[in-house]
Every structure is written in C-alpha cells, then in structure tokens.
C-alpha cells in the first residue's frame, strides 16, 4: 500500500516534468502547426540559464590564503565572490543559495527572447513546408544548440543545488497514519510539482480568459478563418512561440536541482516528450498534460522491484509499450483531433 501511494506521488512528480515539456510542444504544434524537435534543447537551455545565473552570482576574485596550499604546493588561491564584498558573507551566501529560484526571473526574458528569435529567424519559414522538413530542421537546430552549450559548459553535469531551505524530504506517511519514513518525498520535488501545476494552470487560464488567448485558441481550431477576420494571427503566434519556449525553459530551470544539468539532457527528454505528446494526441493541450502524468505514473510503477521481478526489463520499455498500445487502440492518442498530422 505504502509502495503504491509512494509511486503515485512519484509518478505525479515525474509526470509534471513530462507534462510541462509536452505542454510547450503542443502549444507550438497546436498554434503554429510546427513539429519542434528543438523543444528538448529549449528545456536544456532553460536549465543552463540557472547554471549561468549561479555562475554570474558566484563571479569571484582570487584571494591568496597563505595558510593553505594547493595541489602543487603553492599558496592556495581562494575564490571570493564579489557578492561577499558587496553584501557581506551571510547575505551573499543567501543570494547564491537561492540562485535557482532567482533564475526564474532571469530565464523568462531570456527564453522568450530565444523563442521569438527562433520563430522569426527560422520556424516562420517552415510553416508551409512539410512536417518532415520541420522535424529535420529543428532536429538540426537541436544538435547545434546542444553542441554550443557543450562548447561553453563542457560535457560533465554541473551541480546546481536547491536552496538549503528545500533540502531533505517531507514525511507524508506520518500525516496519513503510516509509520515514519514509509512515505517520504523531497521538498524540492514537491515544489516542482506545485510549480508545474501553477504553470499549467496559468497557461490554460491565459488561453481561456484573455482575448489574446481566445484568438489563439480560435487560430488553433481554424487558422484560415481567423486570418480572414483580419486579425494578425502571425504576431500572436510569435508570442505564443516565445511563451512555449518560456514554459520549456522554466521547466528546465526548476529541474536543475533534481538532476545536475548537462548538455544532452534535452535529447534525453526529446524522445520521451514526443511519445507523451503523441499519446496525449497531437495538438491537444489537456491531452498532453494528461498523458504526461499518466506516463509518469506508469513509469514509476514499472520501476518497482516487484514488477521488474515479474516482467524483467519492463522498466526499460514501459513508455514505448504504452505508446504503441495507445496508438494502435486510439489512433489519435488519448484526446487528439481527427486529421492532425496524418499525412
């Protein structure tokens, strides 16, 4: 019982990352009709926004500590962040400690900027091209983006811890009458889940309750008609691309404490997020979110030792197996519309 509750919790958390990425992908696909293979790269760039900000915050000058020596026997040079000089050690440490949450503020404009540049500079020219071309050019872009990041940040993962306040885990079990330590969950992952819900809610509210959102939704349903109404849908779509990039980027920023970011994390997520989108149904926002959580939970269950003992290797293939079954039984995914992406 405890194990099941724990894995549901786990699945929701895993799923929230999938859902966020799939949401951004679907926004782009639904509005612009573009299949964006570079979306994983946007997630990765978001994560590196956090890395960059924490590097900026820890910009240091060297102070020589004569009491200690470095590996060559020379006096040790200690890096002292400028923040220490400006705000004192305590405040400086606190700011550095909160680098990841602060990165949200940093990442939003950066990601929107990258998104808009990408759309205006490249994607725009591919609206009329076949989906295969879109996949291929964005795939190329994804390779280029990740190689650029690798050039500047190296191939090794870079640790970007959460603030100290979120270290450790919360004991759910005690709350609902189980023994201690039976159902625990890390604070930061709970934060991630809440954050994902917030972002998903915000995107839906934005589309539902604003005029801008209404036009975009109408555009998703029938682009030509909206165009005929004399509404400049292109401009809105550019903004939507920026928004989707920001969603992916924020998902990446908040993900950094969970796993140390590296240059290929986007590709790791890419295949998976496409499976999520397709299972949810191309172009369906609720489908993407639903499929994200669903696959997260299924993946969690498949990784239970009891399940693996029963079916060896199931944890290796569960996502793909589910994708195959859903696509064969529900041709357009869980909530997909007819005729989308079938040719």
């Amino acid at each position: 019982m405890e194990a099941i509750i724990l894995q549901i919790l786990n699945g929701l958390d895993k799923g929230s990352a999938y859902a966020l990425i799939a949401l951004g992908l679907t926004l782009i696909f639904g509005t612009l009709g573009v299949v964006n293979f570079a979306h994983g790269a946007l997630f990765m760039i978001g994560a590196f926004c956090a890395v960059t900000l924490s590097r900026i915050l820890t910009l240091s000058h060297e102070v020589i500590d004569p009491t200690r020596v470095d590996f060559l026997g020379n006096p040790l040079k200690v890096d002292v962040p400028y923040l220490y000089d400006w705000f004192g050690v305590e405040t400086g440490d606190m700011i550095i400690d909160w680098a990841v949450p602060l990165s949200i503020l940093f990442a939003i404009p950066v990601m929107i900027g990258i998104g808009v540049i990408m759309e205006r500079g490249l994607i725009k020219h591919f609206y009329k091209r076949p989906h295969a071309d879109q996949i291929l050019v964005t795939f190329g872009l994804a390779i280029v983006l990740q190689e650029i990041i690798k050039y500047f940040y190296g191939a090794n993962p870079i640790p970007t811890p959460a603030p100290d306040a979120f270290v450790g885990s919360f004991d759910f079990g005690v709350l609902i009458g189980f023994e201690a330590n039976q159902i625990i969950y890390p604070y930061w992952r709970l934060v991630y889940f809440a954050f994902a819900c917030l972002v998903i809610g915000a995107v839906f509210a934005f589309l539902q309750f604003t005029t801008f959102g209404m036009v975009v939704r109408a555009g998703m349903a029938d682009r030509e008609t909206v165009g005929l109404l004399g509404i400049n849908i292109d401009k809105r779509f550019t903004i939507m691309f920026g928004l989707a990039a920001a969603v992916a980027g924020l998902a990446g920023v908040m993900y950094t404490p969970i796993n140390s970011p590296n240059y290929h994390m986007g590709m790791d997520f890419l295949v998976l997020s496409f499976v999520v989108v397709v299972v949810g149904g191309m172009g369906s926002l609720p489908g993407a979110v639903l499929a994200g959580f669903l696959l997260g939970i299924l993946e969690s269950f498949a990784s239970m030792a009891q399940v693996i003992d029963l079916i060896p290797g199931i944890n290796q293939v569960i996502i793909y197996l589910v994708a195959i079954i859903i696509l064969l039984t529900r041709p357009r995914g869980l909530m997909g519309r007819k005729g989308v992406m079938e040719d």
């Binding site: 590996f71 191939a155 090794n156 640790p159 590296n262």
Partner: protein, 457 residues
C-alpha cells in the same frame, strides 16, 4: 613495372606500409616507379615502424557524455608523449622503477600520435581504432572510458595484431571473460572495488547491515553488483534487494523512493558517469542520509568513484564511500611527480583516468624498450608478470594469466570541506594489494581465454 606474381598480389595481409611511407618514403617521393608491397617480404608484425618515428593511437571519447573524461585522458597522453620524447620534467619517468626509458622516444624513434573519438560507442570506437591502424599506421591503441568500448577495441586489436593498453575500464570482463592476449589493463576492476571497500565499510558501518543495490542494467553493472554483494555478504551484511535501472534513466526517484520501505539501511549505487551523478543526487535529495533505520544512520556507497563524477554530483558526495584507482592527493614520489608535471602544464590536478592512461603509455613504451622490439608478442612477453613501482600505486604486478595489474586500491570518501573544485575526495584507506588479489580462475572472471599474442602480418 615490377609487377609481383598474382599469388603475392593478393597476399594475406592487413598490414599497411604507412610507416614506411610516412617516414622513409618522402625521400622516395621522386621514385617514379610504382611499388607493390607484399606481405611476406616486409614486416614481421602489423605496422612495424621502420622510419625515425613511431605512431601511437589515442582513442578517447571526445563527444558524448564522457567527453570531459576523454579530454583529460588526452591531456595525459600528450604529457606522456612529451616525456617520452624527452620534453618537460620527465614526470613519472623519473620515479618509475624500470629505467629503460631514455627520454629519446621509444627505441630511439620519436613518438608521434593520432587521436580518435570513441563516442563511447563500441562501433564508433572500433571505427576510429581501425582508421588509426589502417590509415595512420598506429602500432598501439590506448584509451577509452567504458568497458563496452574497451572490450570491443581490445578484440579488434587482437585481430589486427596491435597492442591495446586499456584506459578507464572497470568491468571484470575486460580481463575476465573477454580478456585478450594483446590487451592490457592497468585500471582496477569491480572485484577489487568490492574487496577493498568491504573492510572499510565494516569498520565504518559495522557488520549488521542491510544493503539495497541499484545497478546499472548492463555488463559493468552486473559485475560490480556481484563483486560488492559477495564481499559485503562475506562480512555479514544482508542484501535486501537488487534492482536494475536502465542505462538511459535520468531520474532515479522511482527507484530510490522504495528503498526506505524495504528496511534497508545502506544503499549501494552501482552506477557510473551520468547515471551515478543523477542517482546519487536523487538519493541525497530524498534525505536518505538524514534518516535512521534499524537504529542506525542510513548510508550510501558508490563502488566506483571518479573525480569528474564527484564534481557533477557536487556537495552530494560528502561523506560517501567509494573506491578509486588513484587520486592526486597521494603522497608517494610517483604521484607527486605526475601531479606536478600535469598540474604545471594544465593548471589543475589530473584525474584517475588521466593517471591510468599516462601510466599505460609509459608502461607500453618501457616494455618495448626492454623487449627491444615493437612486436606485440615481444611486448606481451615484456609485460607478462612484470613488476614495477614508482607509478603512483605502489608495487604493481602485471599478471601474465590475465594481463591485469595488481596493486593497492584506494578507498575514498567525499570530502566535507573541499578547498577547491578538484579537492572533492579524501583517501580513507589504501587497501594493500594482497587483499584485492584473486586467483585467475575466480568465478567472477570465469569463461573466456586469453589466447596467444597476435602480431598480425
């Protein structure tokens, strides 16, 4: 035109005469008459260097997740070449117990090298190794950052008649069931990790412990799990569960969450590289190390540590035990000499991958020098049961039966107060070589045969 007879024409040979042309033949550039090389007449072994230089092939991951480790290996090789050719401060050549190396290249031939990218894929690694052999005329291939690659390239070198000096490869199989006569491993292995860790774990955590293993679902993971499991069980630990995790897994939360429920009080992470960074980060995130289970502090063990991984996991490694082949903070003369020359050249201390690669390059050169020939069979003979010292690991034996080095193994712990980004691990114990030595027919190394050396040609 001096055409050779048809039988000679299609001679059985994968030998290339690049060596001849690369070096000697620029002189013959004026030669208008085409020459046909045939196998039987020419060399005694593949890629015999005939000019004034010899080419070594450094096959390391330059793209993919292990690219940084590969870059460090490459730095070590460049340093080794410099030292072999008499440049720099000589590094470990000055402390090496064998004094055969003169600093004038190998057998008087200047050492040149070519590099290739393994991409940490066995196919790509073999392709680049082949290009070094066939195109560049390399007489020895070395490097690599995973056991899959090491085993694949080792088999290739056996077939081609080239010496392979393995880089970082930790799986038992490299010198176990997949061992080859032309392949040599300086790095330690899973069995040694288990044997070295067990006593330290016993001292630190006691004999009454329940261990939960998370294991990477591929060969190296299996051998490591087996090694750690059997040596910890031998001292009284109980293994509660072992769970295999996919190589491509990035988020290990669903594997780590059930650990506490199982009643285990130690978590063993048989992971390497990105897997290890992520699983350790996740485990610490779950606050496992703050928990009390069965009245004891919950502990995490990482059988194979590397500094680059420790760097990726950041503060999460603090206080966590693991084993390593070598660490720059060792205070013997060899290590100090190596750290000094590496650090002076590159500005930071070398990793264990760099160390093992540097040592392998020197050992090969020394063996050739002592054998007086580049012939793989001569090198094989020179390295077999070769005992040496002064290379940073204390007295070391290159065992003839399986071409594995036997030497002390380091047990390390994540440092609580690192003074720099390189100062992440501290040495807890230097496990003496006797404790990690095993019989060549140990069950964990069963199957496979070394075969005989193949000089190619």
């Amino acid at each position: 035109m001096p055409f050779t007879k048809w039988e000679d024409f299609m001679s059985k040979s994968d030998v290339t005469r690049r060596g001849v042309l690369r070096t000697g033949a620029v002189a013959g550039a004026g030669l208008a008459v085409p020459t046909l090389f045939t196998a039987s007449s020419a060399a005694a072994f593949t890629n015999e260097p005939t000019g004034s230089s010899v080419t070594l092939g450094f096959n390391v991951p330059q793209t993919g997740p292990y690219a940084d480790e590969g870059a460090d290996e490459l730095r070590a090789y460049e340093l080794a070449v410099e030292h072999l050719n008499g440049g720099g401060d000589g590094g470990m050549m000055t402390t090496f117990s064998s004094k055969a190396l003169q600093g004038n290249g190998i057998l008087g031939k200047k050492v040149e090298y070519v590099t290739g990218d393994t991409q940490t894929k066995s196919d790509a690694a073999r392709a680049s190794a082949k290009s070094m052999i066939e195109k560049d005329g390399a007489v020895m291939i070395t490097g690599g950052s995973s056991s899959g690659v090491a085993v694949a390239v080792q088999a290739l070198c056996q077939e081609a008649g080239i010496i392979f000096m393995a880089g970082l490869t930790h799986s038992n199989d490299t010198t176990g069931k997949d061992k080859r006569a032309n392949g040599f491993r300086h790095f330690f292995n899973s069995y040694m990790s288990g044997a070295a860790l067990a006593p330290v774990l016993k001292n630190a955590y006691g004999t009454d412990r329940k261990a939960y293993h998370l294991t990477a679902d591929y060969n190296w993971g299996y051998t490591t799990e087996e090694a750690v499991k059997s040596s910890t069980e031998a001292m009284g630990w109980e293994t509660v569960n072992t769970v295999l995790t996919p190589l491509t897994q990035t988020d290990f939360s669903s594997y780590i969450a059930p650990v506490l429920q199982s009643g285990a009080d130690v978590l063993v992470l048989n992971h390497y590289g990105g897997n290890m960074v992520n699983s350790l980060t996740n485990a610490v995130q779950f606050g496992l190390r703050d928990k009390q289970v069965n009245g004891k502090n919950f502990e995490i063990v990482v059988p194979l540590y590397s500094r680059l991984m420790a760097k990726g996991a950041g503060a999460n490694v603090k206080g966590i035990f693991g084993s390593t082949n070598w660490h720059w903070s060792l205070q013997d003369e060899g290590s100090k000499a190596f750290v000094r020359s590496f650090g002076t050249k590159y500005g930071f201390p070398p990793s264990q991958a760099a160390h093992t690669c540097y040592v392998q390059a020197l050992l090969y050169a020394d063996a050739v020098e002592r054998a007086g020939s580049f012939n793989p069979c001569a090198v094989d003979e020179a390295l077999a049961d070769f005992e040496f010292d002064g290379m940073g690991n204390g007295p070391t034996l290159y065992r003839a039966e399986d071409h594995q080095c036997f030497k002390d193994v380091l047990v390390v712990k994540g440092k609580e107060n690192p003074s720099s980004e390189f100062d992440l691990l501290e040495i807890v114990e230097v496990t003496p070589v006797e404790q990690v030595t095993y019989a060549p027919d140990h069950p964990q190394f069963a199957g496979g045969a070394l075969g005989t050396c193949n000089p190619g040609a």
